[in-house]
């Protein structure tokens, strides 16, 4: 049996999984992310886990793939910046390779999840697709003509920073009205807080759900499900922004599949239907002839399965 290791390094936990060539997890180890210990502590933890998995499985491991949020240089595997972990310019690939006789490949979390969805999830057998992951931020992965699009400096797919409202709220990137400022987790939080401040009476329900005054997307969705009008208004705005973003993507790329995943989509799964309806109604009909808009399939294992898939592709299978 052919297998690779896929590692998903998140801000709170790390999943280290042995994944077969069909994208199935054979064994996996979960540990908490020791952010304070710095990159060296995480490297030790990862190396120990890999050795444990190698002892469990009789056939040799082919490679290690790592997915994590941040700016990563594909060829060198240097993590230039990992905002969740406070890493700067850490040579992750080199550090792990020096302790194991295995090739290591590092990519960002969104790219890894795209590899997973494309080859083993909602994008199976599809050569032209866009994955849109709506979490705290919004990231995208693109497959065109059977290849992942990396771009000239490895940042293709930054669809969260497509501008949909040129006069809209300021984004973390400095521009106004980026898609994620309207519909990413942090953007929803800001928009909800603004709305509650502006409409304190109508905002009672949302404030009530929040224990500390911070209104999260979860609170907005709960209030929406319970029929709260202000939450309904916020959800309408989120939906309209995501429809506008999806229309822009469909017009630019004309994909065969638009795959929607991430915490916000999982928290309000109806979004997939609403986005589909909106795009089919409002995009150019020529661009939607062969389009399917579907939810992501791999869910919380997308990162590790995707990273393993990426590594397997890099060693040439």
């Amino acid at each position: 049996m052919e297998w690779t290791i896929g590692i998903d390094i998140g801000g709170t936990k790390i999943e280290i999984a042995a994944v077969d060539s069909d994208g199935n997890i054979i064994e996996s180890i979960l540990c908490y992310t020791n952010v304070k210990g710095g990159p060296q502590a995480i490297v030790s933890e990862i190396v120990t886990a890999i050795k444990k998995l190698q002892q469990t499985i009789s056939t040799p491991c082919k490679a290690v793939g790592i997915g994590m949020a941040g700016q990563i240089e594909a060829e060198t595997g240097i993590v230039h910046f990992a905002p969740n972990l406070y890493w700067h310019d850490f040579p992750l690939k080199e550090k792990i390779e020096s302790k194991l006789k295995l090739p290591v490949f590092v990519t960002n979390d969104v790219r890894a999840a795209t590899w997973g969805e494309w080859l083993h999830g909602a994008g199976k057998n599809c050569n032209n697709l866009v994955c849109m992951f709506v979490g705290t931020g919004i990231g995208g992965g693109i497959v065109i003509n059977n290849r992942i699009v990396e771009g000239a400096s490895n940042t293709a797919g930054e669809i969260g920073h497509m501008i949909v409202d040129i006069n809209g709220p300021i984004c973390t990137c400095g521009n106004r009205g980026c898609l994620e400022a309207l519909a990413g987790g942090w953007g929803i939080e800001q928009r909800a807080e603004e709305a509650v401040k502006k409409h304190p009476v109508e905002g009672q329900k949302l404030l009530h759900l929040s224990s500390d005054g911070t209104i999260t997307p979860k609170h907005v969705f709960q209030a929406y499900y319970e029929g709260d009008p202000l939450a309904k208004h916020l959800v309408d705005n989120i939906t309209n922004a995501l429809i506008a973003g999806a229309i822009s993507i469909v017009h630019a790329f004309n994909p065969e599949k638009l795959i929607l995943g991430g915490g916000i989509i999982n928290g309000l799964p109806e979004l997939v239907d609403w986005i589909r309806e909106g795009v089919l109604q409002f995009a150019l009909s020529a661009a939607t002839t062969n389009l399917h808009i579907v939810p992501a399939e791999l869910q919380h294992n997308a990162g590790s399965i995707g990273a393993a898939t990426y590594a397997l592709k890099q060693v040439g299978r």
Copy 2:
């Protein structure tokens, strides 16, 4: 010498050019577009011109490429809809092939111009680029990993219908705030007329330049060059919309080159510098590391050179 024929069918004239494999025009014939005669009249005109060119050049012609505005099915060469010419479902490829012993390939005007710019213009030796042509409408052509991106239904690159202002003016496609509703020729006309209606005193200069009350982009640019404040305001809005659109494109595709062409860019060439400055200042720095924003080079021959280049590629050179 290897050569193909490139044909640019426009709403007012048709250029039929013999083009060598380096993208140079050897000979060309220009005729007016007989719109009233219907597609059959244009086919006859084209066939006559091709025969004339074949008699002039001693080596055999390899193929014919045609670029025209409209919805075209690449494999069959059927023109489903050509808005300038009022054609519907006309089998252009088949009709010309039946009168000549040459393979004929039909593509839309923007795609043809992208072939030209990519292989013989501003995009030479570049494998990841986006062409943005700002004319009456706004169209785009995309090259990724050394291939033109066609998309799942041959409409990739409809960047004029990326939404940049979700609350903006209504576009011809029915959505609000598409890039071309703000910065395409027809959009500029509408925005200028609105501005003049709203500010009749400040609009005197623009109204004065227009003989019949229709304010064209040309009038706006002329008034801008002559220091008119309302025209300056309109030009600022156009520039900001194009910067927002360019930022969205750069974030989505992360191209090595963004090539800017079309009548609006040619009418106000400073736009190239302003868009470059705006993108470099406001886009994610990681996405602009390897980015060059440059004007298109082929100008009014882009269509015929591009169509010839496309045809040559299709016959396998």
